[in-house]
Amino acid sequence: MLKEITCIGCPIGCRISAVLENGEIQSISGYSCNVGKKYAQEELTAPKRMVTALMTVRGSRHPLPVKTSQPIDKSKIFDCLNEIAGHTVSLPVHIGDVVLPGVCGSNVNIVATKELL
């Protein structure tokens, strides 16, 4: 299977293509430096993203911004968002508080990114 991605290592944005066989990279081309090669290897085999979202706060009109404590598998983004949407927190909340531990059965926590008192 041929896959194409854009490198985000720098503004050049090289188009990198790779041949994948059962999730393993057989050949890879198009990058102009090692940053791109490394990025592509990770991005093509186990892409991860930080997720930021909003959580409902009991008794408050304003939502609480939250983020994943570390990047999660790209395929889990929408599961993660759904779980966050189904959750509420109570005041007060401080930056860094874990408001939802182990999202989607992973070891990644959802933490608050704002002080809400």
């Binding site: 991605i5 854009t6 490198c7 985000i8 720098c10 503004p11 050049i12 944005g13 993203r49 930080m50 930021t52 979202a53 909003l54 409902t56 009109r61 304003h62 939502p63 911004p65 983020k67 790209k74 968002l81 930056i95 990114t113 704002k114 002080e115």
Partner: protein, 421 residues
């Protein structure tokens, strides 16, 4: 009339960093005036991550980045007034502000730092035909509704312009359950970061239509759809026969930012046509003595880290002005934007007895590959740096050393230019 040493207008990242830095230099009589009900500026609504990589070597969200500075303002007990809008400043550094509890307030400051930020270019500036129906917002306004109020502006979205705020809103709207149909860009390249194109558009299969624009808007009360057409890359004119209709209830505009300089104009401060902000020298002092400027009101930045760095300098220099230790009456030399350079800041420097490096920033006018950035004074070149790529979406920031500046103290001007290969 209340007297204050340093008055800072705007409590966003620029105002906060300026206050912290002035305090750390020794200034104890500071007042920050902010028209919103909390400090933090635009960062309060930027809940995505990616802030602070330069300053804190970690990836923070907007509110987290702002809080780091707010905590220091509180630690140092620097006074601030929220819900307070500055409505007038004068050359004599008198400031008038209004708020609900105090009514009109008058201040006499020894120095002022302008840190009012910028606002988005509105629809009126674009001349798209159609009714003034609801459903058309700037991307930043939509960001404010969604992230601060938890209100969704619509369910089917088209984005005009591919600036970073628009790209980030494409992802946010998708996360909130909306369908983003396309991101439409007039130019042959996006002004947004590659990272945002990949992680906000590509990840969710949202097409980026380069060399395209919105040519018509359907709907009278509420937006019903937009017509998008391809444009000729040379003339920017729509090409007949390429029209495509997208049924949608929301159009987000992400077509540029304009520094907020109504107050600066009122004080008779010279503005620069290229940046839309005040003309400043290397101390970030405007044409009115004792009035300094930093952040997005000076020129639109893409990275908040650069805003904080610039603001810290404004704070320190304002304190030197207050204590009468800022160099005065030195000969100044204009900085000219040469080929490929748009809006170099500062606009002039005093080279007489340069003892610190001078930071020069500008936006490239176009995309240049394997280009060089050069600074020359007459025949003499004092700076040269090769870059594999320069794009309008990423500001160039360079430092001129005191040694380099001393070499050219007799030159008429300095020119910054791009040498494209």
């Amino acid at each position: 009339m209340r007297k204050v040493d340093l008055l800072i207008i705007g409590g966003g990242p620029a105002g906060l960093a300026a206050a912290v830095s002035a305090y750390e230099q020794g200034c104890r009589d500071i007042l920050i005036l902010e028209r919103e009900d909390t400090l933090g500026g635009i960062l309060r609504q930027c809940i995505h991550n990616g802030f602070g990589l330069h300053t804190f070597q970690q990836e923070l969200t907007g509110p987290e980045y702002a809080q780091k500075y707010i905590d220091r303002v509180i630690d140092y007990q620097i006074p601030y007034q929220c819900n307070t809008m500055v409505i007038e400043i004068t050359k004599e550094k008198q400031v008038t502000a209004v708020n609900r509890s105090n009514g009109l307030q008058h201040f006499q400051a020894k120095a002022i730092i302008l840190a009012m930020g910028c606002r988005e270019r509105p629809r009126g500036a674009l001349a798209i035909p159609g009714w003034r129906c609801s459903g058309i917002y700037t991307a930043g306004t939509a960001q404010k509704f969604v992230n601060l109020e938890g209100i969704m502006p619509g369910a089917r979205v088209v984005i005009l312009g591919s600036g970073d705020i628009g790209l980030i809103m494409a992802r946010r709207m998708t996360f909130m359950g909306a369908k983003v149909l396309a991101c439409v860009e007039l130019l042959p390249f996006s002004s947004g970061l590659k990272r945002n194109i990949v992680q906000c558009l590509d990840d969710y299969d949202i097409p980026l239509l380069l060399n395209h624009t919105v040519v018509d808007i359907a709907g009278r009360e509420r937006l019903e759809g937009v017509t998008v057409a391809q444009v000729d890359p040379e003339t920017k004119r729509p090409i007949a026969g390429t029209e495509q209709y997208y049924a949608c209830d929301t159009l987000l505009l992400s077509v540029g930012l304009i520094p907020e300089n109504e107050l600066s104009r009122m004080a008779g401060i010279d503005l620069c046509a290229d940046t839309g902000g005040p003309s400043v020298d290397e101390n970030l002092q405007t044409s009115v003595s004792g009035v300094f400027s930093c952040g997005n009101v000076l020129h639109v930045h893409d990275l908040v880290d650069f805003v904080s760095e610039e603001a810290a300098k404004a704070g320190a220099k304002a304190w030197r002005y207050i204590t009468d230790t800022l160099d005065k009456n030195l000969k100044s030399m204009p900085i000219i934007s040469g080929f490929g350079v748009s809006g170099a800041v500062p606009q002039k420097i005093h080279v007489g007895n340069a003892d610190q490096p001078v930071t020069l920033m500008f936006r490239p006018k176009n995309v240049y590959k394997n280009a060089k950035v050069c600074v020359t004074a007459g025949e003499k070149e004092i700076y040269r740096h090769s870059s594999r790529i320069l794009t309008p979406g990423e500001m160039v920031s360079l430092k001129l050393t005191p040694e380099a500046l001393r070499q050219i103290s007799d030159a008429e001007n300095l020119t910054v230019k791009v040498e494209a290969s």
